[in-house]
């Protein structure tokens, strides 16, 4: 299967040099399944990750049910749950920790990272730098299919004896090393999805460095591309460390080696019976390796969206981005500092507290570039002419929630304050403010913004705004109270808080949060409905519906195989909005000085333009 694809690629490359594209008729399989076209890979990432979003969301609602109504049967679906893990529909402790583990793992490895870099990397990079495809199209195909395979392996955990992985998304040994088959599958899945990241990352770096359209200097690239580029560097440098950590974990788990296992554990787990580890290992070593990747990974999950949000904000404020270079330096600073702060996840882990001091100081410093970005976004909308499209509302929502998520980060960055809030719902609140309120809102902004380009159809704006309002309101109602639980001392990953007297007064909060979460979950169906409806019946999208400046809006919607109808040249920076000397309030990168584009007046731009 691989060779014909490779052959058609070389063929393809030869033709792009001539600037026209006459392709062999692609079979269904090479066009839709094993496609090397970056737009198809982007669609594949988008649709599979959105599917995983539904699964991850369902897992979350199940565990929320148990927290709000401990010991009560799950309504509607409870009776279908297997007897062992949910007797009479009541979620048992063993299932509960599988749910927390798999919810987080699915959301992080199979939803946010694939959307942030898989979708936007593939969608934005070739189109925004004005080229026909990725530098390594076959690697691109592999990257998606490894991810897909990993997803199946992870999900398979629920169907094996003992259930899915249940050591948290962080998978700390010794617990993860003595788990059953489901835990092993979790380890394999993380390894595979990590490889998918490495392949994707190296492809993006190569493409950005080698395939920019003539005239496009690095500092002419849109911030989305910059952000994904730097993110890719993080992925290439960080993910191999994760891969090595989970490989060693795999050996400990399956072959009973002792990378992370000290001597003579008296373990009661049924899977540990007869397990003879030679000992001498160090459990904390895993945490160092894991967070050396996973702290950069939290930025892998947000930097691309910071880029997307910058582009969306600038376009819909009709204003150049405020401090373009400062934004790039901030991204670089975050990326660099991101590699020296991992220990802030381990303040209470038993590592030498002296290191706690160093990691506290570096962590506090990393809050600075985050703050700079927020200020620059505020600077961007200052004296703008703001259009409230769905994409822009999602971007503004991103900023609003990211402010809260960044501030809660400062609490935890202070090591002594972290003593009390570590491993409580305060952390859960922080995670969701940055990853749901931040990353997911950024992803939604990008989806509403680029859907017309990718699918050639305009998403419904009225339903889009409804989706925004429902999500924004119920997001805050769900996750803000988790700060309160955290301050109350409510531990994370506990099956029944009522075991503790000091947590009993918080039961009404748990119930409230669950009800809000259910509404929040169902609000997301608006997006799915909108996508399906638009795909079938939606109005056709014009070439440049938002009157934006970047190169992707020069290609037809949707772009054909090979993207641009003629070779592109870049004449200016990506954010030339509202130049005083021009009648138009935008000036695309592809227009030669003095050149005017006639077909620019389109149905949507009527309502977007100020003439």
């Amino acid at each position: 299967m691989s060779s014909p694809v490779l052959v058609s690629d070389t063929h393809h490359d030869v033709h792009t040099d001539h600037g026209h594209h006459e392709h062999h008729k692609q079979s269904f399989i090479t066009k839709y399944i094993f496609s090397t076209d970056h737009k198809m890979v982007a669609k594949q990432f988008m649709l599979s990750a959105l599917f995983f979003l539904l699964i991850g969301g369902a897992l979350a609602l199940l565990l929320r049910w148990q927290l709000a109504y401990p010991g009560e049967a799950v309504p509607l679906i409870g009776q279908f749950l297997p007897e062992l893990i949910a007797s009479d529909g009541v979620i048992q402790p063993g299932l509960f920790i599988q749910l927390t583990t798999m919810h987080a793992s699915v959301m992080i490895f199979f939803v946010i990272i694939p959307l942030a870099v898989g979708l936007f990397g593939n969608l934005c990079i070739p189109l925004m730098i004005g080229t026909d495809d990725m530098a390594l199209p076959f690697i691109n195909l592999l990257s998606f299919w490894l991810y897909f395979l990993a997803g199946i392996v992870a999900a398979a955990g629920f169907f094996v004896q003992g259930g899915a992985g249940a050591s948290g998304w962080t998978g700390y040994p010794p617990l993860s090393a003595i788990g059953g088959l489901g835990q092993t599958l979790w380890i394999v899945a993380v390894f595979l999805v990590g490889f998918s990241s490495i392949l994707g990352g190296m492809n993006y770096v190569t493409t950005v460095l080698n395939k920019r359209a003539p005239g496009m200097k690095m500092f002419d690239m849109p911030l989305s591309v910059w952000a994904i580029f730097i993110t890719s560097v993080l992925m290439v440098l960080g993910t191999p460390v994760l891969a090595s950590a989970v490989s060693m974990l795999f050996f400990d788990n399956v072959l009973h080696t002792s990378f992370f296992m000290p001597d003579n554990l008296t373990v009661a787990s049924p899977y540990a019976n007869g397990m003879k580890h030679s000992g001498g290992g160090q459990p904390i070593l895993f945490q160092h390796l894991f967070w050396f990747y996973s702290h950069p990974a939290v930025y892998i999950m947000i930097l691309p969206l910071m880029g997307v949000v910058s582009d969306v904000l600038s376009t819909f404020s009709r204003k150049p981005i405020y401090g373009y270079k400062a934004m790039i330096f901030a991204i670089m600073a975050i990326a660099f500092l991101g590699f020296i702060v991992w220990g802030h996840h381990m303040f209470q882990s038993g590592m030498n507290p002296l290191l706690g001091t160093t990691f506290m100081l570096s962590t506090i410093v990393i809050a600075v570039p985050s703050a700079i970005k927020v200020f620059n976004w505020l600077g961007t909308i200052w004296r703008g002419s703001i259009r409230y499209t769905t994409a822009n509302m999602m971007a503004l929502g991103f900023i609003a929630t990211f402010i809260i998520g960044g501030l809660s980060g400062v609490f935890m960055a202070s090591a002594p304050v972290d003593i009390y809030i570590h491993d409580t719902y305060f952390i859960v609140a922080h995670i969701h403010y940055v990853l749901f309120g931040g990353s997911l809102f950024g992803i939604y902004a990008g989806i509403y913004y680029w859907f017309p380009k990718l699918f050639g159809k305009m998403l419904n704006e009225i339903w889009g705004r409804r989706h925004f309002f429902w999500t924004f309101i119920f997001f805050n109602l769900t996750f803000f109270p988790m700060h309160i639980l955290g301050v109350g001392g409510h531990m994370r990953r506990i099956h029944d808080p009522n075991v503790y007297d000091f947590l009993k007064p918080f039961q009404p909060w748990n119930e409230f949060i669950t009800i809000m979460a259910i509404i929040l979950g169902f609000s997301q169906l608006i997006l799915f409905g909108n996508i399906i409806y638009t795909w079938i019946w939606g109005p056709k999208a014009p070439k440049n519906p938002w009157n934006a400046n970047t190169l992707e809006w020069h290609a037809p919607s949707p772009p054909p195989h090979g993207n641009f109808l003629a070779p592109v040249r870049v004449y200016r920076s990506p954010y030339e909005f509202s130049h005083p000397d021009r009648a138009d309030d935008f000036h695309p990168q592809w227009l030669a000085p003095g050149e005017v584009e006639i077909e620019e007046t389109t149905t949507v731009s009527e309502t977007q333009n100020t003439h």
Partner: protein, 302 residues
């Protein structure tokens, strides 16, 4: 009816009062940690209102209007420099200010001289605590002898271990004394969390970590596990009872009597020596207590 459900203005303001959700603090350093939290909280609240105020004001003021073109402007280096420097100073300040508290609560060399020293072992799913007993020394430990019935791996060959008291699930300490806990785990990671004392420390198998606190109030408090350790994690509840020094002394001698009584029954030959030991031991405990009081006063006068 409905009106009564609408919160008053002060109640609304009360929503911003995060600090009221903390459980009661009963340790000497707890209120300092709470104050540090409060300090960061008020700064955050200030930044929150400032940025949200600006965001909302801009969103309203600069919404699209006919005939108004956006301002063509790319930014200003002096502004960038200022808003880089200010947060750096602010955050670095928070970091440096925090560090003192961190060193005090966690640095091994700053652990105070113990008044009571115990060992705590986390296991799936519970906590067990070992007191040195009347002789004031822990018996030798041997990892190879660690079993579910001897979680500390107390070496049966060592006489110093004979009087060690092991309590499962519920521990007792005196107030106003420095309690130093040597913490470990026998199977997987756990985390020793005393919400009321603002203490949290992971328990790592194969490693002994020192944790200390000094309680200020008599009462029963909960001990929780904060690190996922398996399906019974949620149920790893323990209890800490804080007594006055006098009550603690009495508790300790009762426990020793119980313990040594048992060993008396098992090995009648040693009965004499154990009996004398018991007398001696009460004496030592009292002696320890007196020296301890002087230590605490010393510390206070510093």
């Amino acid at each position: 009816m409905i009106l009564a459900a609408i919160p008053s203005f002060t109640e609304l303001l009360g929503m911003f009062d995060m600090l009221k959700w903390f459980p009661e603090n009963v340790s000497t350093f707890g209120h300092e940690l709470d104050n540090l939290f409060a300090f960061i909280y008020y700064i955050s609240l200030g930044i929150f209102f400032l940025t949200y105020g600006v965001l909302i004001a801009f969103m309203i003021k600069y919404r699209r209007k006919d005939n108004v073109k956006a301002y063509y402007y790319h930014g200003n280096n002096l502004v960038e420099f200022t808003w880089t420097l200010l947060p750096t100073i602010l955050f670095a300040g928070i970091g440096l200010y925090s560090d003192g508290m961190w060193e005090k609560t966690k640095y091994e060399k700053k652990v105070p001289v113990p008044d009571v020293e115990v060992q705590v072992m986390g296991y799936q799913y519970g906590w067990t605590c070992r007191y040195p007993g009347p002789d004031g020394t822990f018996g030798r430990q041997d990892r190879n002898q660690m079993t579910t019935s001897n979680r500390f791996g107390i070496d049966s060959a060592d006489a110093a271990g004979k009087d060690d008291i092991v309590k499962d699930g519920s521990f007792t300490f005196p107030i106003n004394r420095n309690i130093v806990v040597g913490l470990s785990a026998s199977d997987v990671l756990h985390s020793f969390f005393l919400p009321n004392f603002r203490v949290k420390q992971d328990a790592v198998p194969g490693q002994w970590i020192k944790v200390w606190f000094n309680g200020t109030k008599v009462g029963k408090y909960e001990l929780a596990c904060a690190e996922l350790c398996g399906s019974g994690h949620y149920n790893m509840r323990g209890e800490v009872t804080m007594l006055s020094q006098a009550d603690f002394d009495k508790w300790l001698s009762d426990e020793s009597a119980k313990k040594l009584g048992v060993s008396f029954a098992v090995s009648p030959v040693k009965s004499d020596s154990s009996a004398t030991k018991k007398n001696d031991s009460t004496a030592t405990v009292v002696a320890v207590a007196t020296t301890d009081t002087s230590k605490t006063t010393n510390k206070k006068s510093k």
